[in-house]
């Protein structure tokens, strides 16, 4: 019996609303305050290794952030800058969560 090639299933086009540019979900929050929540094109921050950017399709990533200015480039509107004192960043499946003050 011949192997049948799997039929590719069309995934809903998430990038349609962003004009074809891939985006990801970003949430930056502390226990009592949400600083940013929504879709974004990129997140830039600094950790002990140095400055870095998170873009859509990034690999699973877990890191401690160094005191810095976190920059979120949202799908709509201007870049949002958030001052970080101490935070943890978790990236998984196009979802970036920054836990502040932990």
């Amino acid at each position: 019996m011949a192997d049948e090639a799997p039929i590719p299933v069309a995934e809903p086009d998430e990038s349609a609303k962003t004009g074809g540019k891939p985006s990801m979900f970003v949430k930056v929050y502390a226990p009592f305050q949400v600083y940013f929540e929504g879709d974004a094109y990129s997140v830039s921050a600094v950790n002990d290794v140095g400055p870095f950017d998170i873009l859509p399709k990034h690999r699973n990533f877990l890191c401690m952030l160094a005191p810095c200015q976190l920059v979120v480039q949202p799908v709509t509107g201007n870049a949002k800058k958030i001052k970080i004192h101490r935070a943890l960043m978790h990236v998984k499946a196009d979802k970036v969560v920054v836990f502040m003050d932990v």
């Binding site: 929050y29 502390a30 226990p31 009592f32 950790n47 002990d48 290794v49 870095f52 690999r59 699973n60 990533f61 877990l62 890191c63 401690m64 943890l88 978790h90 969560v97 836990f99 003050d101 932990v102």
Partner: protein, 289 residues
């Protein structure tokens, strides 16, 4: 029987107690709503961090973020979270009672948070080793507390737990146990695809550094959560105490009002009797003349 004016004055002072307890009851009610909302919001945050911690930590040896070469003090640190002042019902008294059941001067050092608890300990002739004010702000900096906890081999926290508006309990838990018991859920079989390991994740600067950082974060969040819970339980206890005080003072004011009316009627009756007696005497004297 007391004079009506005396009773009226007492009734007036009880009425002012009614107003005061009523105002404090309303204030506590507002504080409960506000604090409860904050606790709910923060719980969502804590749960998400816990979830990552559960997936990353597979060893259960929680060591308070101490370096392996650090030798801890071989005593148990007892941490008491109490109210900043009185008027919070019997909740602090119950906490102190529970603490006294365990306390042994030779085996324990004491850290107290909240002025009311410190005062109660002084009254019980127990000296504490560390003291902190109960934080009032949303953001709680527990770093100074953690520096102390890290010095000890074991730490136990006594806190007030909010069950409902009518019920607040006193709990005591071993800090390392509470952290590792939640971490133990991170059984490799249960975490499945969500396991956070070097195979599935990039860690920066390293997996050990991130795990150690998370261990500290979890301890920090656990202590903060206990403080938030205690604050909620304290306002609920204050609400209960104020409601009871208001009820009692309303009752007392009612009783005093009845007593005042009775005393006043009695006074009028006495005067009337005296007047009638006087009138009778005058009439009798007039008849004689």
């Amino acid at each position: 029987m007391r004079r009506p004016l005396e009773i009226k004055a007492e009734e007036a002072s009880v009425r002012s107690v009614v107003s005061l307890t009523s105002a404090l009851e309303s204030l506590s009610s507002m504080q409960i709503a506000k604090t409860k909302n904050k606790v709910l919001i923060s719980n969502q945050f804590f749960d998400e961090v816990w979830n990552i911690y559960k997936q990353i930590r597979v060893d259960v040896l929680f060591n308070f973020g101490r370096a392996p070469e650090e030798k801890p003090i071989n005593k148990e640190l007892l941490i008491l979270i109490t109210a900043k002042a009185g008027l919070s019902g019997d909740i602090d008294q119950r906490l102190i009672r529970k603490f006294l059941e365990r306390y042994d001067e030779a085996k324990h050092d004491v850290l107290v948070i909240g002025y009311h608890g410190a005062l109660k300990l002084k009254q019980a002739h127990i000296s504490y080793d560390y003291y902190f004010d109960l934080p009032e702000q949303d953001y709680i900096n527990v770093d100074p507390l953690m520096d102390i906890i890290r010095k000890y081999a074991r730490s136990r926290i006594f806190y007030q737990n909010y069950i409902s508006l009518g019920q607040q309990t006193i709990e005591d838990v071993d800090l390392s146990e509470v952290v590792s018991s939640k971490g133990r859920v991170a059984d490799l079989d249960t975490v499945g695809d969500s396991l956070v390991s070097e195979k599935t994740y990039i860690f920066e600067p390293s997996s050990f550094a991130v795990a150690a950082y998370l261990e500290n974060s979890i301890l920090r969040l656990t202590i903060s959560q206990f403080i938030y819970d205690s604050r909620l339980a304290q306002v609920a206890s204050r609400f209960r105490a104020m409601s009871a005080a208001k009820e009692r003072s309303v009752e007392t004011a009612g009783t005093l009002h009845v007593e005042y009316n009775r005393a006043k009627r009695n006074q009028v009756d006495t005067r009337l009797k005296e007047s009638l007696a006087g009138l009778k005497k005058i009439r009798a004297e007039g008849a004689e003349v």
